[in-house]
């Protein structure tokens, strides 16, 4: 009887396990998003908001019309790039947490275009090149520390985020500052800006930089020998070495590509996000803050695949854009912070299949502990155990 029950239970568990782990990555991500939204709804309910109306406001604000779509896409633009920074390094087996700092350095480098007075296509091109190069250079230091001295790239990239942040703030306030307004840098001249795509919105043509970079990265990773080596080294460094792949080279390369992506993300903000076209030092650079970190969440939901990242970025961009509508929505003003709760819950929900996977191990630990208690209780009783 109990044996029967046990097998049924384990079969159910195995079934649930198979269903949840055998899902395609896309469905897993969508399920995670739903779970995240549900958790957000529960929290809103607890705090006395109407989740249904709040989410209607959120999604209307994100995808309710042309203006809303443009707004969401504009927010997705830098996220696509910073997500790529994280995911390409992860594909080569490294944790690059440094998109935040690399983005700020890239944004600052693109401001230099303001001093050059270049005609229209040239200004954008030079700005992107400057930003990409600066981002790559900023990521090279942690990469070199890792490859030559074995310094953990997780620590060094986080450190470099702070170094970058305060360095950029100093540049903004003391070096690149606007003579007319002390709290911001000089603005990018109109000729070097990415023109706005939909009038009245902040969506500019800079989104094509992001999408083009994602496509290029997709082709590099899955259709060139370079990408093949990066992926092989990331999945199994020992086998890669056996296959004649130089792992250090692939790591270096992925860091450079990641740095370029983060630098470009900075440029899409300074050169392509109306209305400022400059870095504001005022409230500690609000436009540039957290874009790099949000990119990591986007990369996870996008399953570290360039195409998946585009969709995930549009979703996260929508949450950001819609959240601003949600907090002003008439009788039910839900604070913007709840959107960040939803984002966090989604990232956590991404781990659910992994949790299901470890249930057997947890169960075993539990039974062992239980058995120990039982033994401790009958410690003084004579030993008689069944065969």
């Amino acid at each position: 009887m109990s044996a029967e029950k046990k097998t049924l239970e384990s079969r159910l568990l195995r079934g649930a396990h198979k269903t949840l782990t055998g899902l395609s990555p896309a469905i897993e991500s969508i399920l995670a998003a739903i779970v995240g939204l549900l958790i957000g709804a529960i929290l809103m309910y607890i705090w006395g908001y109407d989740p249904w109306r709040a989410y209607i406001a959120l999604f209307k604000g994100a995808y309710g019309g042309g203006y809303e779509w443009a707004s969401s896409l504009a927010r997705a633009t830098p996220l696509i790039l910073t997500a790529m920074t994280f995911s390409i390094c992860l594909r080569s087996g490294m944790f690059n947490i440094g998109a935040e700092g690399q983005l700020m350095i890239g944004a600052t480098a693109s401001i230099l275009v303001a001093y050059m007075a270049l005609p229209t296509p040239l200004g954008q091109i030079v700005g992107l090149i400057l930003a990409g190069t600066a981002g790559a250079l900023w990521s090279l230091v942690p990469a070199a520390l890792r490859l030559m001295r074995g310094v953990s790239e997780v620590i060094s990239t986080i450190m470099f985020n702070w170094i970058g942040r305060w360095f950029v703030l100093w540049l903004t306030i003391f070096i690149l500052r606007d003579p007319a307004r002390a709290e911001k840098t000089v603005s990018i001249p109109v000729a070097a800006r990415f023109p706005v795509m939909v009038r009245g919105t902040d969506l500019s043509y800079s989104i094509f930089v992001s999408i083009a970079f994602a496509l290029v990265l997709y082709f590099i990773l899955w259709h060139t020998t370079v990408g093949y080596e990066v992926r092989a080294a990331g999945l199994n460094p020992t086998a890669a070495r056996y296959g004649g792949i130089r792992n250090k080279r692939t790591m270096f390369l992925s860091f450079i590509l990641g740095g370029i992506a983060a630098g470009l993300a900075g440029a899409t903000i300074t050169m392509g996000l109306p209305p400022t076209y400059a870095i504001f030092g005022g409230a500690l650079m609000p436009q540039l803050t957290n874009v790099g970190f949000d990119g990591m969440a986007v990369a996870m939901v996008g399953r570290n695949h360039p195409i998946g990242i585009i969709f995930a970025a549009v979703f996260f961009g929508g949450l950001n854009a819609g959240g601003r509508v949600m907090q002003f929505y008439g009788s039910n003003p839900v604070p913007l912070e709840i959107v960040r709760v939803v984002m966090g819950a989604i990232v956590l929900a991404m781990a659910i299949p992994e949790l299901i996977r470890i249930i057997p191990a947890v169960k075993k630990q539990g039974t062992e502990l239980f058995g120990l208690f039982k033994r401790l209780r009958k410690k003084n009783a004579p030993k008689e155990e069944e065969a």
């Binding site: 060139t224 093949y228 092989a232 999945l235 199994n236 086998a239 792949i245 008689e384 155990e385 065969a387």
Partner: protein, 537 residues
């Protein structure tokens, strides 16, 4: 089979401690590791557990120490039947095992490590009490280690003593040691043996897993020999000879009546050489005085020299862990040797990268196909070009991969090597072991190599796949390629090789044609007993 008294040991009141009956172990992948093994253990006794790799020695001891449940059979003690679900239960009962790989926390001291092993949920660490207990125990056993030095600063022999102390603090009656001498210096071995004798005289039952015949003769009272999961011998050490044990270990049955060794009905497999090897020209691979260190820093390949000519299979036999892995890694660019020379067609191969070595015409079928041979999450196609992905044939402009050509190549490999898989885009981890190995073999042979280094090429494979891979190797030999075959499967080495070397502790004990040695001699050489020593003895 006598099971009451043992010779050699002091006349003491040995009593039955444990009886294992009909123990069978089938692993979840279908491997039968043990077939109806019976074992009796007594107090005041050291039992040697002898056998080749995969003979089931470790499986048997893992069952006794509660790490694995048996598939069939049961263990009884004079107090009644016992069944453990965890090593902790076995320890509570009095059975402790010292594993080959130590379970010690490097930055912790010996005392802290021992205290940690006593820790129970919510019990806390009682360091002072442990130190007191350890000091008493060290006094009593003569087993000395510095208690307040971090483990990682201790020598390997000292670390092992900590492991033994860890088990002894639990008052064990049965101590199991898995290949304890493989990491020790000769002096440390003597100290260990002295300790084991003292423990035996105090009544402890001891199981010593080993493949070294000399040790069996030195220390054990009784020897149990396992071969392919079957118990082929259970004899008193004093009643047997090294030769008999060697024969038992490599495959001849013991007459249960007389204790003499019967000739097995299994004939020595003949080599399938079609023509004698032409050794008049220059060898393809030439290795001279190669010396290399293992991962832990000791010399694992010791002054090895060999030459392999085209059209020849050179087999390296020996119990695993005697330097074969390090030899292969040194020759394939995965390990940098400390001295010696190695050339392929006259060009140096030491200290250069695997990529450069491959360009000189070396194909490598690695011993560990999951870690080294394949990127498991990769597809069949992606795995089929590992190492040859830079070929012009597969590359378009701008380093683009020509997937249509790669897929065509994979389909060809699947046809030729009978790789059963859903298609070129099936993940490699979905393949069976045999098909994975065929994929590796196919990929390596596609390199059109001058020399093939095949390390354990048929390990864990079903008979059909193993046969196919052996045939492929002989075909390549007949086409004039040189082959270095390293295998723990003695039958395989004997059947395929034109010449064999027997490796023991990093050295070639003997290099000759397989016909010139009989199994007894091979067994002796594998166990580290060389001809000269025999003469001297």
């Amino acid at each position: 089979m006598s099971d009451t008294q043992m010779a050699g040991a002091p006349p003491v009141q040995a009593t039955l401690y444990l009886r294992a009956e009909g123990i069978t172990k089938v692993y979840s992948d279908g491997t039968v590791a043990l077939k109806a093994a019976d074992l009796e253990l007594h107090t005041h006794e050291i039992v040697g557990l002898l056998g080749e790799n995969g003979a089931g020695k470790t499986t048997l001891t893992k069952i006794l120490s509660g790490l694995l449940p048996p598939t069939q059979g049961f263990v009884t003690s004079p107090q009644g039947p016992i069944r453990f679900t965890s090593p902790r239960e076995a320890l509570d009962f009095g059975i402790g095992m010292v594993h080959q790989h130590f379970a010690l926390v490097g930055p912790f001291t010996a005392a802290e490590n021992v205290a940690l092993s006593h820790e129970r949920p919510f019990s806390g660490i009682r360091l002072a009490q442990t130190i007191k207990q350890l000091e008493e125990l060290m006094e009593e056993s003569g087993l000395r280690v510095p208690l307040n030095v971090p483990i990682e600063k201790l020598a390997v022999g000292e670390q092992q003593r900590v492991e033994i102390l860890k088990v002894l603090t639990r008052d064990v009656d049965l101590l199991i040691l898995d290949e304890p001498t493989s990491v020790l210096t000769p002096l440390e071995v003597d100290e260990l043996f002295a300790l084991l004798r003292r423990l035996r005289d105090k009544g402890t039952s001891i199981i010593l897993i080993t493949h070294k015949l000399k040790e069996v003769q030195t220390i054990t009272d009784r020897v149990v020999v396992l071969r392919h999961g079957e118990m082929v011998g259970d004899v008193k050490t004093a009643d047997t000879t090294t030769e008999q044990l060697a024969q038992l270990m490599v495959g001849q049955a013991l007459d249960p009546e007389t204790g003499a060794v019967e000739l097995s009905d299994k004939e020595l497999p003949q080599t399938s050489t079609s023509a004698p090897v032409d050794r008049s020209g220059a060898p393809i691979l030439r290795v001279a005085n190669l010396t290399s260190r293992g991962n832990t820093g000791e010399i694992d390949v010791d002054d090895v020299s060999l030459e392999i000519f085209g059209g020849e299979i050179f087999g390296v036999a020996g119990v695993e862990g005697n330097g074969q892995t390090e030899l292969v890694e040194s020759l394939t660019g995965l390990r940098v040797p400390i001295s010696g020379e190695a050339t392929i067609n006259g060009k140096n191969i030491l200290g250069i990268s695997p990529r450069q070595i491959y360009r000189l015409g070396v194909a490598h079928i690695p011993e560990d196909r999951w870690q080294l041979g394949l990127v498991l999450p990769f597809t069949l196609a992606e795995n089929a070009i590992l190492g040859i992905h830079q070929w012009e044939h597969f590359k378009g402009p701008l380093a683009f991969l020509r997937w249509n050509r790669i897929n065509a190549h994979v389909r060809e490999l699947m046809d030729r090597f009978e790789i059963r898989a859903a298609g070129p885009s099936a993940p490699a981890k979905s393949l069976s072991g045999g098909n994975q190995q065929k994929l590796i073999v196919g990929r390596e042979l596609a390199k059109d190599p001058a020399i093939i280094v095949a390390s354990q090429p048929t390990r864990g494979l079903d008979i059909g796949s193993a046969l196919y891979i052996r045939q492929t190797l002989t075909e390549m030999r007949d086409k004039g390629r040189a082959i270095l075959l390293v295998s723990a499967d003695l039958d395989e080495v004997l059947a395929l090789s034109d010449r064999i070397a027997i490796m023991y502790e990093g050295k070639f004990m003997r290099v000759c044609e397989p016909e010139k040695l009989d199994r007894e001699q091979i067994g002796l050489l594998m166990g580290g007993v060389s001809q000269e020593q025999e003469v001297a003895a």
